[in-house]
Chain length 376, copies 2
Amino acid sequence: MLPAAALVLVVGLNGPSPRLRGGVNGGSRVSRSAVVNAATQQSPAGLGFNSHKPVSDVPDSLCRPDDGNADTQMRQKFERMCRAAQNKICAAIEEIDGTKFREDAWTRDGGGGGITRVLAGGNVFEKAGCSLSVVYGSMPAEALASATERGADRAKGIKPGERVPFFACGLSSVMHPRNPMAPTMHFNYRYFETDGGVWWFGGGTDITPAYLFEEDMRHFHGTYKEVCDKHDPDFYRKFKQWADEYFMIKHRGETRGLGGIFFDDLNDRPAEDIFKFSTECANAVVDAYVPIVAKRKDMEFTDEQKRWQQLRRGRYVEFNLVYDRGTIFGLKTGGRIESILMSLPETTRFEYDHHPVAGTPEAKIMDCFKKPRTWV
Amino acid sequence: MLPAAALVLVVGLNGPSPRLRGGVNGGSRVSRSAVVNAATQQSPAGLGFNSHKPVSDVPDSLCRPDDGNADTQMRQKFERMCRAAQNKICAAIEEIDGTKFREDAWTRDGGGGGITRVLAGGNVFEKAGCSLSVVYGSMPAEALASATERGADRAKGIKPGERVPFFACGLSSVMHPRNPMAPTMHFNYRYFETDGGVWWFGGGTDITPAYLFEEDMRHFHGTYKEVCDKHDPDFYRKFKQWADEYFMIKHRGETRGLGGIFFDDLNDRPAEDIFKFSTECANAVVDAYVPIVAKRKDMEFTDEQKRWQQLRRGRYVEFNLVYDRGTIFGLKTGGRIESILMSLPETTRFEYDHHPVAGTPEAKIMDCFKKPRTWV
């Protein structure tokens, strides 16, 4: 439904990353043949699932050392922003949970790498993950053209059949609390740049409660509306609707959760402006989400309510494995598997033909999944 | 990896089924424009997820009434075989479980329908499903050509751009026992026929234990080897390898389970011979599987062993939602959702970066998932 969104989501997270060893000055980089190993044979677009190299000391930057000139300065800048946001968000989650994230970092030959942080079996969170990824990859020119709403524009200077080297950096996160009254939250912010010199931003933050507390939704959506409104009066309306469309589980005719904002292929104003917007969005995660968790984490709940949460987590898995093109593409092109799939909830339920009873809280929120509402 | 297998799996289960209302004599059927409703707009290839009509009395045949002449006699015959096997297998499962399957049947305008049986919350089985599906659909000629190993052969007489009306009938089943020592079992047998007069059979039965009991694997594989050997000395070797390849979770580099047999696009001998083979395979399910469940269902197990089973069920979900093209295609083309997804285990776990400890039973079976073995 949103090819640009999907593709960028991929590479922002953990997309394909053939080993490019060409020249590195922006605009004239040449893709040489990737070194093909056994793992890549399954997926010619990717590196292979075992191409990442664990590192114990994370370098100051995962960008290539020469990515810092006038043409490519956004690369390191966006990475720095993501790393600062990762630190801030993980610290806030650790504080409310009382336990610590585990960290796994890796690099790749030819540049790029990532830092995945996962908190499992916490006091408040069943599973929380926050992952930075820096990718140097390439994709067929046609894929690039068809991957964007504005078509061939993205592949300028590239002949059909050629591969387009690209850079992508993104921070991605999913938090699954234990208490069924506390919502799951996901966000992803990413920057994408081809060696042809085109670039765009994408991202979003969305919330997935099992039970509806309207005040929580007003707080969450209101926080993001405020950020959006500072940058463009149309942003919130557009990006809220985009989220409602993107997070639709089509085979169910219902959304994964209660939305938020989602945008992609954004390059209609100076990069610096969009960078500021992305930064503020990433920095709003804690304010938008953590107070809701604080309010709900100790509420009492029944086994039936836990069961409903588990069923909704089953739907989360359905969305992520069937529709989230970032996940799918990552799986098929050889990203670091554990980082791609850290988004899956620790426990789920799949029941045959389950329908909430009319008039119950479960039916009430299901109405919102079937027919997205306006919250602010 | 196996396009023919995938596509046929789809339609045998719950594939696309536009409302064809053309003539019905074999070879001259004409596809008219499908009636498009809201649900179909998302997936032009399919009927829409709500196009099935529940029925309380299942008709004697779900085939079109005029599907019984010399050209189309295999349609009703295969359906009868599937329904008899469904009855036999469900009866055996009910007997060992002590509870009953629930049944949902449906028909579609223009012919076709299905009978889904699900046993949930049983004594022995957490979730067991067995579903018959009869589909009258159509697909683009190009899809048909590329969907088979023998290419254009399947689309003979059809011009590029035209849709090929087809008939498909299949019986599909997944059984998930509670006890982690008792394996999950899946089978699917299907018959596919285009109105151009080409036909083929596909199917297979495979087993997914969380713990390895070699004697069980020898029994299961041995039962199917015996059936295969009666029909062709090459069948077992070929179809066992095909299962090992098809059920590979590529992003994990491990198989879903310990295989069995899998075949598709089979039409290299008289239809009657392959029908007999398929019938014997379907009828071997009870003998191949139920004695293993009987032996394992009351074994003692620890919480850790249950947790490992749940993790393997997470992998089951990964395979079904990411790779099983029958599931994917069914989801995207508007099959009956609850029937498509009845295969998902009731409960699962997804842990970050879990690896079995060397030397444990979990590591032992993981070796078999990583490197398929010979059992008989």
